[in-house]
């Protein structure tokens, strides 16, 4: 039996524990709640135009929630996309490059979304 823990573990780039698994589920719940809250506001409240759409995201509590969801999405997607690279991409160099790309992609997108949200 090969030793795969402690200082002699085979490093494959995974977090050997519950943290990311749990984080993916917690962030999923937050995003699901956000979806329900947003849908409820869209469905109840009359005809939808720019004014009402902007008003939904102008509320401070909604900005708070949306900000949390943007950060959650980035973390959630990071865990998921990293799983995909770990399952299908075996060459270490290519895998590292794709993981770096994923982080850049997600951090950049999160920054953009937060900017849109906070200049409103």
């Amino acid at each position: 039996m090969a030793i795969n823990y402690g200082s002699k573990r085979v490093v494959v780039g995974a977090s050997y524990g519950l943290r990311d698994w749990l984080a993916q589920r917690v962030t999923a719940v937050l995003m699901a709640l956000f979806t329900v809250v947003l849908l409820a506001q869209l469905i109840f409240g009359g005809p939808l135009g720019y004014d009402r759409w902007a008003a939904i995201f102008s509320a401070q509590w909604m900005k708070f929630l949306t900000f949390v969801v943007i950060v959650s999405l980035a973390y959630h997607a990071w865990v998921g996309v990293r799983d995909i690279w770990m399952d299908y991409v075996k060459p270490v160099g290519l895998r590292l490059a794709l993981q770096v790309f994923s982080i850049v992609w997600l951090v950049g997108c999160a920054g953009w979304a937060i900017q849109v949200l906070w200049r409103l």
Binding site: R25, A28, V29, A32, T35, G49, Y50, W53, A54, F57, A77, G80, V81, I84, D87, Y88, S102, W105, L106, C109, W112, A113, V116, L117, R119, L120
Partner: protein, 142 residues
């Protein structure tokens, strides 16, 4: 002892070349589509945020948001933008429903073969069914 060890079946991950010949149960389809829908949403994230941006920034950009589905953007025609949006709609719906199924199974330990099957069928049907309805709305059929 050695003989029985030799006869043990070996289960490996499905290779990409086996996808077309490998018959998956409904739960298997939900699982791989969960991954594919997540990847689609990940790759289309800039487009989603662009929609968020133009729809929210001002009344003028909101006009741009509504017209892009008709007039298109740059060299991309309107129907193509609608098609990409349809992919986002399906991706979100499937990822959402399959995710709720996942969380429900985690929380209640509902791991029987029967529940796995029936909930998978419901997930697939809801995901594609709602996509058809919302897609019809998107393409102006009602």
């Amino acid at each position: 002892m050695a003989d029985t060890l030799k006869e043990r079946p070996e289960f490996r991950n499905i290779h990409i070349t086996q996808i077309r010949t490998y018959r998956l149960p409904p739960a298997g389809f939900v699982s791989i589509l969960h991954r594919i829908s997540g990847a689609i949403l990940f790759l289309l994230l800039p487009f989603i945020i662009w929609l968020f941006d133009v729809s929210l920034t001002s009344e003028i950009t909101f006009e741009r948001f509504t017209s892009v589905f008709v007039a298109g953007a740059g060299f991309l025609p309107g129907w193509f933008i609608k098609l990409v949006t349809l992919a986002i709609i399906w991706g979100y719906l499937h990822h959402f429903i399959a995710g709720v199924r996942h969380l429900y199974m985690d929380a209640t330990h509902s791991v029987t073969k029967e529940f796995g099957h029936s909930s998978a069928v419901i997930t697939l049907a809801l995901g594609f069914g709602l996509t058809v309805i919302l897609g019809a709305k998107l393409f102006g059929l009602f």
